[in-house]
């Protein structure tokens, strides 16, 4: 049974047991979650109506200002893309955003279930973002659902290229350890990484763009034995409280 599951997971699909459980349980659970969210939103809306109106007006004004820049950004992106094509470089990742809701969280397995799947364009390996930063990567995909392996998962394959933002930025490999601790390994044992440094994605990947916040350095250790410098990073996303995410395609 375990081998069956593992081979399905490696192939990026739900195993038969998972597929049955998700269709029997995940679908009604998603409906209940949506209904609860609506009730919660209604109560919050009634309770905070005056401040929400003010906030809404302010956000509309900000949106109008931002819209003026969007055309310029699109033009620049088009220009970059055509220059990359001329240079024979691959297209940049993370252009399309697929909004999604979290419909299941399994803390012991470091996994989230999302309500979007291959029908919405989700593919294995795509990065998943919350408002505060990177959440993880899509591990398995079904038609209408997918599962995310969280960044904090200690699975050996779960590594992301990361930069500690200093001048110049320090590149390393980041892996999960626990929900409150990630490990950034820098190949230079004398890398001047310090507590408080912001860590973001490096972009040295076909799918994960550069600059997505990951967390902040909370501790730095020298690992002389392996000629490396290790930094503990506190993730910027509280994995257990994420409810809305975006899949970057």
């Amino acid at each position: 049974m375990g081998k069956w599951q593992t081979s399905a997971r490696v192939g990026g699909i739900f195993d038969p047991a998972g597929r049955v459980a998700q269709s029997l349980v995940g679908v009604p659970a998603g409906e209940i979650g949506t209904a609860l969210d609506r009730v919660g939103d209604l109560v919050t809306g009634v309770w905070r109506a005056p401040s929400l109106l003010t906030e809404n007006r302010s956000l509309r004004a900000q949106l109008a200002v931002q819209a003026q820049y969007m055309d310029t950004i699109r033009d620049l992106e088009r220009e970059i893309e055509s220059l990359r094509k001329l240079q024979g470089l691959p297209t940049l990742a993370g252009r399309t955003r697929i909004p999604s809701k979290v419909i299941g969280f399994f803390p012991y397995e470091n996994r989230l279930t999302l309500d979007v799947g291959s029908r919405q364009g989700v593919r294995v390996g795509l990065p998943v973002l919350a408002a505060d930063g990177l959440v993880g990567r899509i591990q398995v995909v079904a038609d209408e659902q997918s599962q995310v392996l969280l960044l904090c998962s200690p699975e050996p394959s779960n590594q992301v290229g990361a930069l500690a933002l200093r001048d110049p930025p320090l590149a390393g490999l980041l892996r999960g350890e626990s929900p409150t601790k990630l490990i950034l390994e820098l190949n230079d044992p004398n890398a001047p990484v310090e507590t408080g440094d912001l860590v973001v994605t490096s972009g040295f990947s076909e799918r994960i763009p550069r600059g997505i916040p990951i967390g902040r350095v909370i501790q730095v250790d020298r690992n002389d034995e392996f000629g490396k410098r290790r930094a503990s990073v506190f993730p910027s996303v509280a994995m257990g409280s994420v409810q809305q995410v975006v899949v970057l395609r």
Binding site: Q5, A21, V25, A29, F106, E109, P154
Partner: protein, 161 residues
């Protein structure tokens, strides 16, 4: 109660518990404690059943949980089947008449299930896992009191063979 309707009733209860677990458990976090609704309902059911039935409920609970989480099915199935079988032994403590006793057994059962799981599928960090287990056990124990009362009323007077 006849066997057929009873089995269907238990299956419906387990399915409802699984749906509620997936929909609610991550919305009901209190002080970092997350309830395991499937385990609460499964263990409360075991208190109302004979041992063999309890083992089947544990098996179903393990399959459902493992499949939903895309986790190793075998570890969840073994840990929950053994725990459910063990919990059904608390018959000798006459806990069926005491909801508070049911709460205590569910809390202990949660710890036992997670300890077995810990040996079968060791987590990377034992300390945080045990901390989360204890918090979940307390939460499950509190939730088990009304769940047990509800199930006892819903399933009627069951008799162990």
């Amino acid at each position: 109660m006849k066997r057929g309707p009873f089995t269907i009733g238990v299956a419906a209860i387990m399915w409802t518990a699984a749906v509620l677990h997936q929909a609610l458990s991550f919305r009901l976090v209190i002080f970092g404690a997350r309830p395991d609704l499937l385990l609460v309902v499964g263990l409360a059911l075991c208190l109302l059943m004979e041992r063999r039935q309890a083992a089947w409920v544990g098996f179903a609970s393990g399959v459902l949980m493992g499949a939903m989480a895309m986790a190793n099915l075998a570890s969840y199935v073994v840990s929950r089947t053994l725990t459910s079988y063990g919990v059904s032994y608390s018959e000798e403590l006459e806990l069926r008449s005491s909801p508070w006793g049911a709460g205590a057994v569910c809390a202990a059962g949660t710890i036992l299930a997670n300890l077995i799981l810990m040996f079968l599928a060791p987590p990377p960090l034992i300390g945080p896992f045990l901390g989360a287990t204890i918090r979940t056990a307390v939460y499950n124990g509190v939730l088990a009191v009304p769940v047990f009362l509800l199930l006892r009323r819903a399933l009627g007077p069951l008799h162990r063979s």
